[in-house]
Structures are given as C-alpha cells and as structure tokens.
C-alpha cells in the first residue's frame, strides 16, 4: 500500500470508528419541543386539504418510527467502554468445527440462495423453533455498534445447549458450545432465573443522585431475552459501572448490579455448575447458517486490499443488491442475508488466505470481519460473517 492510500485508508477508518452509531434518544424529542415553539417562515406552498390528509398519514408513520426506531435507543454518551475489547489480534482462522451440535443439525437450513434469487428477502425460518430459546444475553453500546458487537454473549436453549463467547480483552474469541445434562440445566436455570429478575420485562437505567451530574462516559446495555412468543420477556439493564462510580453518582440499584453479574458470569458458564453438569466437553460452535452483512462504499478511495471478487460470495448481482436492506438506507448501504454453512466455509477459507492485512477475526466459530476493495463499485466493502445461534439470532431485522 503506498503512503497516500494508507493515509486515505487510515483516515476513512478513523472517521468510521469515531462516528457514533446512534443519536441520543432524547434528541428528537428535544428538537420537537423547540419546533413546537418555532413558527415557520414564508408562505406555505401546500396548505390545502391534500396537505392535511398527508399530515394525518404522517402521524401513523411517526408512531411507527417512534416505536421501531427510537423506542429502543438508549441515550448513552460515548466514552470508555470497559466491556469492549481494547485490542484485536489477527486470529488463527479456521477453527475446527464442532460436532456437538444442537439437536437440530440435520434439519434443512434456510438460505437466501442469493445467486439464484437476487435481492430476495432473507428467509428468517430457523431450523429450531423460537420457543426453544431459554435465554439470550446481548451486551452492546458505549460507542459505535457494529454487527459483530450484537452477537450474544450467551445463548441457552431448552435442550440444554449452551453457547457462549468467552471474555477476552485482546481478541474476538470464538463461540463455544456445550450441552447440559437435565440436572445441569436445572442447576443453571436456577442460577439465572432464581432471583426472579427475568420474570417480567423491565428496564434498568442509570438514575443519577439528586443534584449530581455524572461525568460523560460509555456504558454497555445488557439485553436479556428470555422465553418465547407472546410470553417472551425482555429485560434491559445498564452495566454496573463499579462500586465507586455507582455510589458517587448514581442511586443504588441492586437488581442492576445482579443482572450485570449474571451477564458477566454467563461468559464462563462452566464456572456456574458442577463439572458433571455437562454431557460432554466444550467445543467450538458450529453454526447451521450464517448471517452475511455487506456495507458497500461506492466511488470511495479504494486501498491495496484484495478485491471482494476474490471472495466467493454466493451472489452474482451487484453487492449493494445482496439480500435485504439493513439499517440506515443512505450511503453507505448495508445489505444483509443468510447463507448456508457450506457457503460460509468458502468465504472463511478465502478470507483466511488473504491474511491479517484485511481481517482481525476469521473463522466459522466467530465473527469474520474483512475490509476489501470493490472494483465493480469503484469503492470498498466491509464484510461481516456471523454464525447464527440455533434460534436464528441474529435475523437481519435485529441489526441496527
């Protein structure tokens, strides 16, 4: 890579890294409060009956927007986020695949088969019914959220399959899986659900002490999803910031502290139950299918990275037509789809061969990340390949 390209690449990445993924959740509301007190200037050019009809329809759109886009946002200033790994080292790629698969491993796998059906929406059918999910823990926030950061720390299925991502501050670890015996599952369930904190949906936010202005800082949000269908419980809880900071700035919240402890402990579930609580050894997680996310940058300073055409992405049409739209649909465009394990394996092999210049995490048992040139679009593309959990998480609509 020549110095100019390296500079452009570094600058581009730096800006993408610094850009917050979300606006604070209060921003729109506060803006609208100001707008309520601000008269419009000039003469309106559409104030007739049509405009009033459109306005009525807009109320519906707003309700949807608020419900789907703003309702889940958490206002969190960006800053140090102790939950995020400070350094990622190149991975040794292609981990051996696990044989301890969920009981559904022989079930047919839904795939977009993108090459056969360009632009086809992502099939969300999962090989396992969603009601097999006992608990999922996702912890993210405190800064820009990328697709890989939404991968769950832990997933526990009703058949006793436990999948977790061991904590590491130096690398993106691969997911591990291990099956609990019935008594082991009961033991772990008691540990997780015994306190009753996941019985009903709830939100646990930071509550500053009266008269105290806490410093700006990043904080992660734990999201616990328990159960299924109409009975599903979703509990969100801001991470515990440490005894000193909590006691100085925030009101006591024992539930939030306990939920943080549960989330952290589930990154090492083997420490929570007896050694005989498992049916076999832990293995790298071998997913049945994978979520492929492509963020394309057309007409955007290419680097000397390999071209995405050297990666066997199972899609013949332009990459920015792959799968379904995901997230914000202004440039850069993000597309999302689900591919089979076999298709994912070919991508992992290709990325592994390209080496650490383009990736810091690659393997079937972990998020595979790659930054590639995109000659066909005169730009670049960021690729995320994520192993999906047995319940089909994440689906494309789960991505920001």
């Amino acid at each position: 890579m020549n110095p100019q390209d390296r500079f452009d690449d570094l600058l581009t990445r730096r800006l993408r890294t610094d850009a917050p993924a979300e606006a604070p959740s209060h921003l729109l509301g506060r803006t609208m409060e100001r707008i309520d007190a601000t008269p419009q200037g000039g003469r309106g050019w559409l104030t007739g009956p049509a405009g009033k009809l459109l306005a009525a329809a807009a109320v519906v759109i707003l309700a949807v927007l608020v419900g789907t886009q703003l309702g889940d946002l958490v206002d969190r200033p960006i800053g140090d986020d102790p939950s995020l790994s400070p350094l990622v080292v190149p991975s040794d790629s292609s981990q051996p695949t696990a044989t301890v698969a969920p009981s559904i491993s022989t079930a047919p796998i839904a795939s977009t088969a993108p090459s056969a059906s360009p632009g086809t929406p992502e099939p969300t059918e999962s090989p396992v019914a969603v009601d097999d999910l006992l608990l999922r823990v996702v912890s993210a926030g405190g800064g820009p959220i990328d697709p890989a950061s939404l991968m769950p720390w832990a997933t526990l299925m009703a058949d006793g399959t436990m999948i977790w991502q061991p904590e590491s501050r130096t690398a993106i670890n691969g997911f591990m899986t291990r099956r609990l015996t019935p008594s082991g599952l009961a033991e772990l369930r008691e540990h997780i659900f015994g306190a009753g904190l996941l019985d009903v949906s709830a939100t646990h936010e930071l509550e500053p002490q009266p008269g105290v202005e806490p410093p700006g800082r990043g904080a992660s949000l734990h999201t616990f999803t328990a159960g299924n269908g109409a009975d599903q419980v979703v509990v969100t809880s801001v991470q515990w910031l440490g005894d000193d900071e909590e006691s100085t700035y925030y009101q006591p919240d024992a539930d939030r502290e306990q939920l943080d402890a549960v989330a952290q402990q589930l990154r090492d579930p083997e420490s929570l139950v007896e050694a005989d609580a498992w049916t076999g050894p832990a293995e790298p997680y071998d997913a049945s299918d994978y979520q492929l996310i492509l963020t394309t940058y057309r007409d955007f300073s290419p680097s000397e990275h390999p071209d995405v055409s050297d990666v066997p992405i199972p899609f013949d049409e332009p990459l920015d037509e792959f799968g379904v739209e995901s997230g914000d649909q202004r440039p850069p465009m993000t597309r999302c789809g689900v591919i089979s394990r076999a298709e994912a394996a070919q991508i992992v092999d290709a990325v592994t061969a390209m080496g650490s210049a383009i990736t810091n995490s690659v393997g079937l048992d972990r998020p595979t990340l790659a930054s590639l040139n995109w000659a066909a679009g005169n730009g670049t593309v960021d690729m995320y390949l994520l192993p999906r959990m047995p319940d089909g998480f994440p689906a494309c609509e789960d991505q920001p």
């Binding site: 800006l15 890294t17 921003l27 419009q40 707003l62 960006i78 990622v88 955007f300 202004r330």
Partner: protein, 182 residues
C-alpha cells in the same frame, strides 16, 4: 408516504410530518456533526439547531428531492456557528477502540491514529467538514461544495489543505521534504 409528501405536509405546518422526516436522518446528522465538532454535546446542539432551521425555512425548499443536500448544508452552517461559540462542554469523544481496526502492525497504526487525532483537532471546523463529507459521507467535490455552500474550487483547496495538515501531523519530516501533498 414519500419524502416529497412528507415535505409538503411539513411545509404546511404539520409537525408530525416533520418528525417523520427528521427521525430517520437523525443518526447520520448526529454522526456528521460529532465528527465535525469532535464533541457530542455540541453536536447535539448543532443538530437541534439545523433541524429547527429546517422547520422554520422548509417552505423555501422548492425541490424536495434536494432535501438531504439542503439539510446537510443547514447542518454544516449550524456546526460552523456552534464552533464559533467556543468550547462549552467537556469532550466526550471516545477513546480509540482498537478492535475496530484490523492491522498488521498495531503499534505503528496506534501511533498514526494518535497523530491523526491531533491533526483533526488542529483543523478548523470548515476544514473538518470537508474531510468528513469526503471521507465519511463519501461525497464528491461538487456535492461537498453544495453542502458547504462554497465554490468547487474552494472545496478542492480546503480538501487539499486539510489533507496536507493531517499528513504532516502523521509524518512531519516526509511532508517537509516532499513539500507537497498528492
């Protein structure tokens, strides 16, 4: 409902229609303002101000297809004003998140990024706006000129100056000896 319909409704005084215009653009506006101002608190203020101005002057937008370009221009103007007001908040810009950047030589790149940060802080808000629009939003020079309400030639010279400043921050010796920037 299309943007055009929403713009028409909002220009007719409908606040909900305006909220429907603003909501899906909020994240991108906030990210852009944060990168230009290097401060989340001031970025919030700038986004609010830009949206209030958009509401107030929406009737002057004759071509709804230019809505996004118009809002970019309002945002840059609001950032410029905010920058002039001086530093009123402590910066919340997050520290480097190393996992975001794949690298073969982490130590070299860490040093480069520190220097890049210093270089970005050294730039004026106007020059940072050019950098952000080019490298983050991926806009062409003519689009940048439109967003900043400046001639294309000025956009080009600002981009040149900003890049030179940043490259000098990263490698002062080579820049002095080269005496130019590609």
């Amino acid at each position: 409902m299309t943007d055009r319909e929403l713009v028409h409704a909002a220009a007719g005084g409908d606040r909900d229609a305006f909220a429907a215009i603003a909501a899906p653009r909020l994240d991108r506006l906030f990210a852009t303002a944060t990168l230009i101002l290097r401060d989340r608190g001031r970025a919030e203020d700038a986004v609010q101000e830009a949206l209030v101005r958009a509401w107030r002057d929406l009737r002057s937008l004759r071509d709804p297809q230019r809505l996004d370009a118009w809002m970019r221009r309002l945002l840059v103007n609001a950032c410029r004003d905010e920058s002039r007001r001086g530093r009123r908040h402590e910066s919340n810009i997050r520290l480097l998140q190393d996992h975001d950047l794949p690298t073969a030589d982490a130590s070299t790149e860490l040093a480069d990024r520190d220097e890049l940060d210093q270089g970005l802080l050294r730039l004026s808000a106007d020059h940072r706006a050019v950098i952000v629009h080019h490298y983050y939003l991926g806009l062409s020079l003519s689009e940048i000129a439109d967003a900043l309400d400046i001639p294309v030639g000025t956009a080009k010279s600002r981009l040149h100056h900003a890049r030179r400043t940043l490259r000098e921050a990263m490698d002062p010796e080579s820049q002095r000896s080269e005496g130019h920037v590609a």
